[in-house]
Amino acid sequence: MRLLIRNGRAIDPATGLDAKRDVLIDGASIVAIEPRIECPDARVLEAEGQIVAPGFVDIHVHLREPGIEHAETIESGSRAAAAGGFTSVCCMPNTFPVNDSAQVTSFIVERARRTAAVHIHPIGAISKGSKGERLADIGAMHAEGAVAISDDGIPVMNSGLMRRAMKYAASFGITVIDHCEDLNLSCGGDIHEGIQSMRLGLGGLPSCAEDVMVARDIILAADTGARIHIAHISTASSIAMVRHAKSLGIPVTSEVTPHHFALTDERIPGYDSNFKMKPPLRTQRDIDASIEGLADGTIDCIATDHAPHTGHTKMQEFERCPFGVTGLETALGLALENLYHTGTMDLPRLVQLFTNAASDCLGLDHGRLRPGREADVTLFSTEREWTFSVNNTLSKSRNSPFDGTEFRGGPTATIVSGEVVWTAEEGLVKR
């Protein structure tokens, strides 16, 4: 089965390709990328006016399986990923049970093989049960397919354990991802500590709770030489510290979520829990720093932190609602709106943030558009006008702050291992 993507603007940030090209796929592989390809027996996907990019990679999602399947499953989450243009996602270990063992890792890999629309890479826990006490079976999880380790929402407070985890993970060549939050500084907080938390009478999550841990992690990376990846960076100070660390050659990388560069705490409508997440929405100054960081490479990639929660858990008193918002389907639209249409960056850089740069943070073999590579391809338009509605989401959950948002530009087709799994016109194609 051959597929010819014709007349698109092909962008491969890894090689610097940015030109009108036809892309020929045979089976699961890209076989040719040429100015003009004739292949009469191939199925043709017309991409005139669209961008043909390497398949997008999201290194930070929550798929809730096993254990919280009423909020999301590997199947539903992977479909939402496909609808967002993502061909590979990495899922965090905060499931029930926690992915802290080879058994849970292999369960996720097996479920993904049977039900997922895109490639799924599990992230294992740093500590047993993410309790921050003893190291999880990092080597065994890695052997079953875990691509990194993290205690994500329940971060390791014990710096000694963190240091050992970084050293140990380095011996398997995998990266430690840290959700930087000093739990003693953030305790009881609901939104960013500032004028809004004061106005609304909600507990504050101060910027310093993130900054203290980013500083610690940079110091530990310098000390151990092991790689650390800062998840969902959100403060101007943390971004400045990462920039400085990179200038010193310390092996640190970072990601930012679309909601953190699109919204401030002042945009939270009265106690709407679809705007409640960690780290919290911060200030315009922090947004400006994020966008600057994305442009100059301090921030390596965009990741969604897609965090589905059921309606009933989000429809409570604000302080009782869980943290997190969905994000897979709105990520590209938000990036185009806030980074490209504003003139801040060109398309090759924007594509890079979703593809090879994201992949490289964890040393994955994704994010390249090149003959001989796996045929994971994302087609998108910078102009297509569409409106996101939680009534049409492919996620099982509806907790998005962007319900009703009108977008200019978004994915048009998602191809995973040579198979068209989703198109803007037809929706989910693969069963």
């Binding site: 539903s76 004061m198 609304l200 009478g201 409570q316 604000f318 302080e319 009782r320």
Partner: protein, 315 residues
């Protein structure tokens, strides 16, 4: 395609008039409420009114309350309304029902007004999105306590005549006080000159951004000097997740004594929302002095709540 079962819960019925906070009110609305409060205070207590005859009011208190609940009940009864008071302990929330479901159930019985107190900031705001019944906020978490600010304003105005340029010191654990927030909004809207005072762990710079005319100090003497009004707050240890001051020495630095009252203007008055903790934030001598308006506040509370009940029922 997944089947969508979640109902569209928005905009059920006509939008009722709510009183959720002082921040959302315009000055003329506040002036109207104060004027009606003054009117009801002047009405002879023995007279039973018919303003809200046939109306039913549910008082739903998810936190302990004596004065606010009693005050709302008396206000409703004087206006001729039927009232039902429910405290959280006896409700189906104890059986695991969500707050939205409990309120929807009550709303289905068609009361005219729900008066609610809840420990979570924003609980009435969140519920009002799903309810077509008028709602009055009788205190939500750390956020607002609008009828308290209105009755405080009425009390001050009875003595001082105007709020413009009035020096008001608000002293105590500001960050954890819904009374302070509502008062800051009201006093700021009316041009008062406000000093908030407490240890830096409870008084942050962000407070000055709530409105114009708000200053900070951590020194009690500075706060009370030349004040026209001294507003004390109750120390609410139950609202602090973590200790924000060592409670043993609180009175020494932030408790109101006669000496402090001496630094204020000669005709200065002292307010406290109650219940008072004698010897913790206020000395007995001050609480029982002529300067203390505490009982006058309680009396005005009934009048203001009559005004508020009437207002939310207006077409």
């Amino acid at each position: 395609m997944l089947e969508r079962l979640a109902p569209d819960l928005h905009s059920i019925g006509p939008n009722p008039r709510n009183l959720l906070g002082i921040e959302d009110l315009q000055r003329p609305e506040i002036e109207h409420l104060l004027e009606r409060g003054r009117f009801y205070k002047a009405v002879r207590r023995t007279e039973k009114l018919t303003t809200l005859r046939g109306r039913s009011i549910v008082n739903l208190f998810f936190e302990p309350s004596t004065r606010t609940r009693t005050s709302f009940e008396i206000a409703a009864k004087r206006l001729g309304a039927d009232t039902i008071s429910i405290s959280a302990l006896g409700t189906s929330l104890a059986k695991g029902e969500s707050l939205v479901d409990t309120l929807n159930t009550l709303a289905a019985m068609n009361p005219d007004i729900i008066v609610m107190r809840h420990a979570a900031s924003g609980a009435p705001h969140f519920l009002s999105r799903y309810l077509s019944t008028a709602m009055i906020n009788a205190g939500d978490g750390l956020h607002e306590h609008p009828t308290q600010a209105l009755l405080d304003a009425l009390t001050i105005l009875e003595v001082k005549g105007s709020l413009v340029g009035l020096r008001v010191a608000i002293i105590g654990d500001i960050a954890h006080s819904r009374v302070a927030r509502s008062n800051l909004h009201l006093l700021s809207k009316f041009g008062a000159d406000i000093v908030v005072c407490g240890p830096a762990t409870t008084v942050s710079r962000n407070l000055t951004r709530l409105g114009p005319g708000i200053r900070l100090t951590h020194q009690m003497r500075e706060a009370v000097r030349d004040a026209d009004v001294i507003m004390m707050l109750r120390v609410q240890l139950e609202r602090q997740n973590v200790e924000v001051f060592p409670k043993g020495e609180y009175f020494r630095y932030y408790g109101l004594s006669l000496e402090h009252v001496g630094l204020a203007k000669p005709d200065a008055i002292v307010l406290h929302p109650g219940p008072i903790n004698r010897g913790r934030e206020i000395s007995s001598e001050v609480a029982d002095s002529q300067r203390s308006m505490i009982l006058s506040q309680v009396e005005n509370g009934v009048a203001i709540r009559m005004a508020v009940l009437e207002w939310v029922c207006e077409e």
